[in-house]
Amino acid sequence: MTKVTLTVNGKAVSREVEQRTLLVQLLRDDPASGGLGLTGTHVGCDTSQCGACTVHVDGMAVKSCTMLAVEAEGAAVTTIEGMANADGSLSPLQQAFQDHHGLQCGFCTPGMVMTAAALLAENPTPSESAVRYYLEGNICRCTGYHGIVKAIMAASGQDMPAMAAE
């Protein structure tokens, strides 16, 4: 077991983990089993394809199933639980997902929000095709991405008049 110390959603945490423990396991596992109990981050595959486990590590969108917990030593990790406004209300990006029906079953949603936040940090006014390209590592099976793309565009302050008709 190795001790790992990191910051998660602004709070310093320290845990004993196995060398093989993945970051997503550390985040999700029950506190009784040595995890942080942050179950908002999801696991949807085992080949680093679906992006449901996306979190921010030092500001970068990272698939937490593809990173060992020990690699996060000293890092600042943000999960979906750390994305709302300080008063607990939805952030503008989260609000845009609700406003534009960017989620149905909700399982891919945390990863989508984290990836979208990383995109908007890099490129505050992405084109529709830039949004779709950036989402290449996140799979949604419910929405056909329609509402997700609309939500991200809206969160970036851009109108999509072509979409208004439908």
């Binding site: 085992d46 080949t47 394809q49 679906c50 449901a52 399982f107 945390p110 949604c140 991405y145 509402g147």
Partner: protein, 792 residues
């Protein structure tokens, strides 16, 4: 409190934002894998890596000595358990029941597909369980596998189940009495058009893998199963009564937030029974979480039909007869509803939107050494629609007719319409949806766009399809005659609290559909209060009435109808209370915007006061009326509902590479009345993505030895954001359902049903316009297949 009429509308027809989104967007959803019980142990299944083999021995000694291992289970531990039951018995053309092999919890004697569970390790941690599974020694005698359906039916083919007479589950004919007349119509036809096609095998792939957590309380002799299910009551009934012998009052099944289903979470799976039984055997909770790789070899697959379809037309291009022969893959075992998908959910839809007077459908269901196949979004109806709409398009091309006009000429226009395949369409207006489609897809402007593509060296194509589906599953007395071993009603309890708030307990289940929002809209609208005063509870057998769950686009049409019925009973009783409070005749009481009034007077009492009187019955007609305000209703539909719609796909094909790009996709649906247009559009968009995925990308492939070649997201192509356009979705064509109280038809599957033929028709249109006389390409239309067709 009366409704604030200045606030945004929250009733029927309002695009109310979803209340469940708040928890999903903040990481506070509670999915099954988020549940960790005190003292929980972890299960890991050792699964067969060969498609067919006889188990000579299983040595678990080394595994049981590994750190943290509590027990290694094999079939011997389940000697007294029943098999996983099949919920539908199909009767074949000769009046005989289908062949129905046992499906054990753990493989017993033979393994029959890659992924068949052989043993299960339960250990203190998941990693320990996985490590120990590697130490189990299984000696398997490899047997030749049958993968191809026609080969499986050949004389002398290896049998998946030794105790059966062959690999044929059933040979079904429908309508058998029409067969001779259909054949005569083909002999008399002016034109006959035929097509051989494949409906490609798919994997549903909800983003949440399946999970089961079993728990047992010795103090109360109470079992609890937390599971990723679309229908917890069905699991409780099937697992309790048929597999483990647990009476329903000793078994609670909870399906909390469920991350999508698309059919694959309808069925009762071995892992659910395992975790439930193991929790009692080990006296501690047992949890199993599927990996995605495991999901590919253990979740029921979908589609996988081989079909020859033929259409007879007269000299005036009127359809005179249709006949089909389909081979339907059942996989190695019969999944819960597998037998009914290629029969009653497929054969009964073969009239499509057309007045074809004579139809004969033959289906041979076949056992193979592959994962069981069952319903996947649309289930039988996409297969029917794909056949019909591909064939009609082919007929138009061969006859030199316009594909829209050929369809229009044969459209059913009079309703109710008795099809020659048993079902009666109650309403529809197919010309209206076609008109709307041509408008929103701008078909008139297509030629100019095609010229523009041509100038860039690309081939542009426009494909249409018109679909019919049967939803609102289903009238119990009818499906009982057809072999269903269950009723298909739905239930609701409406519990009004003393202070006027309402809790609705529904037997329906939401795994993305948004029931918590839409069901609240319905009840709020009926009473005239704000939807925020209505809470929806679902997914727990302990606090919801027996219900059949969510699939087949049935939630609103059947579950919503139960809700309307229960709320109607509540309102009827509330009016009695109001009549007493207002000292008026019950028949004079009106309810509007949450206020009861005496007709023609200014005397009123509001909703809250009536609710309070029901629970604090000081001034109350106790001699005539029970206190309280809570009612339960069960609703059994009188008929299926028949949503329909017209879809258009516009593609551009790169003739150099065969790559297909979807430039536009338009959908004009008739779903009857709409409760929440935002949610309806979302359902269509998601269905379109899955249908386009089937048409262009998704394909579950086995090699000849039964190894799954597409066992992860590295190999099974899921549609991503870049693969899809923004969709043009319209639902303004409305012919309300005539036999349910909301006039709703269901919208969950339409997109996946109507889109595959539209996409394929569009690609073929592009190729033929480009001078490539290609009559058909089997799905998925990958660049390699399209390129090969161009260069054939």
């Amino acid at each position: 409190m009366p409704k604030d009429t200045s606030a945004p509308a929250t009733g029927i027809g309002a695009a109310t934002k979803r209340r469940e989104d708040i928890r999903f967007l903040t990481g506070r959803g509670r999915y099954t894998d988020d549940i960790n019980l005190r003292g929980q142990a972890h299960a890991h299944f050792l699964r067969s890596d060969v498609a067919h083999g006889r188990i000579r021995s299983i040595d678990t000694a080394a595994a049981e000595a590994m750190p943290g291992v509590i027990k290694v289970f094999t079939a011997a531990d389940f000697a007294s358990a029943g098999g996983l039951p099949c919920g539908w018995q199909v009767t074949d053309r000769f009046g005989q029941p289908m062949q129905e092999p046992k499906h054990p919890i753990l493989a017993d004697g033979k393994v029959r597909h890659v992924g068949d569970p052989i043993a299960c390790v339960v250990a203190e941690t998941l990693d320990q369980a996985r490590d120990a599974a590697d130490a189990i020694v299984v000696d398997i005698e490899d047997l030749p596998a049958v993968i191809d359906m026609k080969a499986a039916l050949a004389e002398g083919a290896p049998k998946v189940h030794d105790e059966l007479t062959s690999n044929l589950c059933y040979d079904w004919g429908f309508v058998e009495e029409n067969k001779a007349a259909v054949e005569q119509a083909f002999r008399d036809a002016a034109h006959v058009v035929s097509l051989d096609l494949v409906n490609n095998r798919l994997v549903a792939n909800p983003m949440e893998p399946r999970v089961a957590v079993g728990d047992y309380d010795f103090a109360t002799d109470m079992h609890t199963l937390y599971t990723t299910s679309q229908n917890p009551h069905v699991i409780r009934l099937l697992m309790g009564a048929f597999v483990l012998g647990i009476p329903e009052h000793r078994l609670r099944v909870v399906a909390p937030d469920v991350g999508g289903g698309f059919g694959s979470k309808i069925y009762h799976y071995a892992e659910e029974a395992f975790c439930t039984a193991a929790a009692k055997a080990l006296r501690r909770p047992v949890k199993w979480t599927s990996t995605r790789s495991e999901a590919f070899i253990s979740d029921a697959h979908g589609r996988d039909h081989l079909t020859r379809i033929e259409l007879a037309l007269d000299a005036d291009h009127m359809f005179t007869a249709l006949r089909t022969e389909t081979y339907a893959n059942m996989g190695a075992y019969l999944s819960t509803f597998a037998p009914c998908i290629p029969t009653w959910l497929h054969g009964t839809l073969m009239a499509g939107n057309y007045r074809t007077p004579l139809i004969y459908v033959n289906v041979k269901a076949v056992f193979t050494n592959t994962v069981p196949v069952d319903a996947y979004r649309g289930a039988g109806r996409p297969e029917a629609t794909f056949q019909i709409e591909r064939l009609v398009d082919k007929a138009a091309r061969e006859l030199g007719a316009d594909p829209v006009e050929l369809r229009r000429k044969n459209f059913i226009t009079e309703f109710p319409y008795q099809t020659p395949v048993a079902v009666v369409y109650d309403t529809g207006n197919y010309h209206a949806t076609m008109d709307k489609l041509l408008e929103i897809s701008d078909r008139a402007g297509f030629e100019a766009r095609a010229m523009e593509s041509q100038a860039r060296g690309k081939l542009r194509g426009f494909g249409i399809a018109h679909y019919i589906e049967a939803c609102g599953i289903a009238p119990s007395n009818l499906v009982g005659q057809l072999g269903a071993r269950a009723g298909l009603y739905e239930s609701a309890t409406v519990r009004v609290n003393a202070t006027g708030g309402i809790v609705v307990m529904t037997g329906s289940h939401s795994h993305g559909q948004g029931h918590e929002t839409t069901f609240a809209q319905v009840v709020a609208d009926m009473i005239g209060i704000d939807a925020g005063q209505v809470e929806i509870v679902h997914g727990d057998t302990a606090n919801t009435p027996m219900g059949m769950g969510t699939y087949g686009s049935r939630s609103l049409a059947v579950g919503g109808s139960a809700l309307v019925k229960a709320a109607g009973k509540v309102i009827a009783k509330a009016k009695k209370i109001a009549a007493h409070l207002l000292e008026a005749a019950e028949g004079d009481i009106e309810l509007k915007d949450g206020t009861f009034s005496v007709a023609g007077t200014d005397r009123t009492v509001d909703w809250g006061a009536v609710c309070l009187a029901a629970y604090v019955p000081h001034n109350y007609p106790l001699a005539d009326l029970e206190p309280g305000l809570e009612e339960t209703a069960f609703y059994d539909p009188a008929n299926f509902t028949f949503p329909s719609g017209a879809y258009a796909c516009e593609v551009e094909v790169d003739p150099e590479t065969g790559a297909v790009e979807i430039l536009a996709f338009s959908a004009a649906d008739d779903f009857g009345n709409i409760v929440n247009p935002m949610i309806v559009e979302g359902q269509v968009q998601g269905g379109l993505a899955q249908g386009i995925g089937q048409a262009l990308m998704e394909h579950c492939v086995y090699d000849e030895t039964g190894q799954l070649l597409t066992g992860s997201y590295m190999d099974y192509a899921m549609p991503r954001a870049e693969d899809l356009p923004l969709f043009r979705v319209d639902h303004s064509c409305i012919t309300p359902c005539t036999h349910n109280p909301l006039g709703v038809k269901g919208c969950g599957e339409a997109g996946a049903i109507g889109s595959p033929p539209a996409v394929v028709n569009a690609v073929l249109d592009a190729l033929n316009r480009g001078g490539h006389a290609v009559s058909h390409i089997d799905m998925p239309l990958s660049p390699a297949r399209v390129w090969a067709a161009i260069n054939a």
